[in-house]
Symmetry: C2
């Protein structure tokens, strides 16, 4: 009776295999290194700027939404209480406000009934993938490097993810076609391609209008859906950017996943899916949104109406525009981006040794830095310990665990002083 | 080019097969019939009494929790803002308060680190099942009739559910042993048994102390976990009831799933899992709670801290006791239960024709009514249309779709006048 045997209740072979994988531990590793080096400047955290947060805002937005409901219900407070505190509509209660927001901010016109309000965009991704996973042959594609939460949600659904090169265009259409062909030749059924269209995580890349049009055409020709996840689209300069895929979608090829974690508050845990695809199932005609709601009722029942009310109040106070609501934050992100680009140019002048390059997104939270060495978890550990600066190794966004000569720099959450000091430390580390 | 072809984007064969099943549609059917017959008295809805709800309560509990955080953080409001509005701890922020509540209300002593705060108990069930589903041989057992959300969560994980008879004891231990033996003989690996220990949904049954002890012994002998889901335990009379399985658990056999939907507010969407099982995985020693957190980070990221704050405030104002916080509600439920039992006795005296019988739980939200005909969805439809009374056909809690001569009556949400009128209508229907 050795302790090794008696004090363990469950072993790896008795648990979902994903739990033992490096991917499942990546988030832990990145959180834990931040906790171990609290004095480090962090270019790692992709959190929104919190300088304008206040507890009073929660109260105010709740009040604004409550007054809106009272007007809707002719001042009957018991109906307002039911909406906010009882079990509620599986697809959510602020779908009408979200539809207006999509129209104002993105030029997307959708029936509010095709919207499912979710516990963050993350639950939305899970629901879409779980609905699409019909057989063991089904696979999805994802632009990589890309958001790790998509791969994670696919793991929960036992759905393989085939990587598609992103490149400076945001998506490499040749590689997309090749990947689809290879998958089909191997007997797989590709269902959808996942991507961020604007200021992508982790690359900062955006798709041109021409790429968007070609991608929509490809999706139609290849009979796949596009899962467009667009949490950073509004965080760009004021001038016109190309319409979202969903705004250009004329044949319901695009499932649009939205987040209020960056534009509202992460703590509200409110996102949504627009799924207007027409479904024929068991003799019924419904929308894909209705199918997602069926799954959601078995997963989280509904999204907290209290969280929805906070986001609803913010939308009501800002003419349904999160772009308007985030005017001050957008200025911060744009200022930080300029400072970071100028600082990189000063610390790593062209032709300097070692050669260091980066891309120049004009919005969002992130950019890519190319370094002359393999920037894996060991390098991050050394950077934190010896130079007091954190960043994210790009391999975490590839999912194959192979270190690359590239890192993600996040600038959304830092002050000018932190960016200045962080760049000094980062330059010291890169040169060391 | 017929419209049947061109206006459908996705077909059943392209979607998760569960979506086409009668179970996936059951919730819709039950909701929809309530909407079609708004004048009907409903013994169907299992919602908590909302007579004491108010919007001011949300504000008050938020304030109480905020003041608690301000004290914890030496009045640093920026740290309070981070907790409530930023991305936060995957396992939640009110785990310490929940541990105190478990100690006060249930005599359960657990390390707060073994608690994962979830988006309702429903997400908790999903996370436990997804973690336990390692191979296609894994199966779980559930006392049936039982909560449909458990079967639904298992469906999402492709995990078969083997029914175990409940019976008046709450769980039929002989049938449990038989089911385990048959499953193993068929090459399956049984992982856990799911049940409500007190005032179960839909039966109202509770386990005796002796049954609890035997069940724990059986779990150990058979090497399975017990998933104890206990949303109704506090809604009983004041006198002592037997301890929960988790309070009796000396060998970490019990995963305890808790809900604040009935004791707090459904709209907060806050539940939790106690998972103190020790796990050895990829060379690490952790708890099952840590594994659930890994999965949660890919599913909902974290539970809304705003919802958590509302529940936290309620716990803080009531000495961490939801039993104390619900004193008035418990009186309502107990009064409704007495009225329902007395009304049934008056409408269906012993020996009356047709023979109608029922059980007599002493707490909770539900009881079982045996009727002399098959009470399926058709009968419910007729009851609603011709007699203006709704109830829940028991087959929805079996999952095999076969109508039975039994219905669930819920009494949590009705006024005395509604119970009186509802019973009159129900008697008319049963006699018709």
């Amino acid at each position: 009776m050795t302790p090794e045997v008696t004090d363990v209740d469950l072993r790896g072979s008795e648990l979902f295999s994903f739990l033992g994988s490096p991917q499942a531990d990546a988030m832990n590793f990145l959180n834990e290194i931040a906790l171990r080096f609290p004095e480090a400047v962090s270019f790692a955290a992709g959190r929104p700027h919190e300088g304008f947060f206040s507890v009073d805002l929660i109260r105010r937005y709740l009040d604004t939404y409550t007054e809106h409901l009272l007007r809707e219900y002719n001042q009957d407070e018991s109906l307002v209480c039911q909406d906010l505190l009882q079990y509620g509509r599986t697809k959510g209660i602020i779908h009408g406000l979200i539809a207006k927001c999509l129209s104002v901010d993105e030029g997307i016109e959708v029936d509010p009934e095709s919207i499912v309000v979710t516990v963050g965009a993350q639950e939305g991704l899970y629901l879409v993938l779980r609905a699409l996973r019909a057989t063991a042959d089904d696979v999805v594609l994802a632009v990589q490097p890309g958001y790790v939460g998509f791969t994670g949600a696919a793991e929960l659904c036992d759905l393989p993810v085939l990587p598609v090169r992103g490149g400076p265009a945001g998506v490499d259409l040749t590689d997309l076609a090749d990947t689809l062909r290879r998958a089909r030749a191997a007997g797989q059924r590709p269902r959808a391609l996942y991507l961020n269209t604007d200021f992508a995580n982790p690359t900062g890349h955006s798709l041109s209008r021409a790429t968007r049009d070609l991608l929509l055409r490809t999706a139609e020709d290849e009979d796949i859906l596009l899962i467009e996840d667009n949490p950073y689209g509004i965080f760009g300069p004021d001038r016109e950017s190309p319409p979202t895929l969903k705004a250009l979608d004329r044949s319901r090829r695009v499932v649009y996943v939205g987040s209020f974690a960056k534009s509202g508050f992460p703590g509200a845990r409110v996102g949504y899916v627009v799924a207007d695809q027409r479904v024929e199932l068991a003799g019924r005609r419904e929308s894909l949104a209705d199918q997602l709601a069926r799954l959601k009722s078995m997963l989280t029942v509904n999204t907290s109406p209290i969280g929805q009310a906070v986001i609803g109040g913010k939308l009501l106070e800002n003419g349904f525009s999160m772009r308007a609501a985030n005017k001050r934050e957008i200025d911060v992100y744009q200022r930080n981006l300029r400072q970071l680009l100028e600082g990189l140019a000063a610390h790593f002048p062209a032709g300097s040794q070692p050669e260091v390059t980066w891309n120049t997104p004009d919005g969002g939270f992130f950019l890519l830095l190319n370094v002359p060495f393999e920037a894996g978890d060991d390098a991050l550990e050394r950077s934190a310990r010896e130079h007091g600066v954190l960043w994210t190794p790009i391999h975490h966004f590839h999912g194959d665990g192979r270190p690359r000569r590239q890192i993600r720099l996040s600038f959304s959450h830092l002050s000018p002083a932190e960016i200045e000091e962080g760049l000094r430390r980062l330059a010291g580390f890169v040169r060391s």
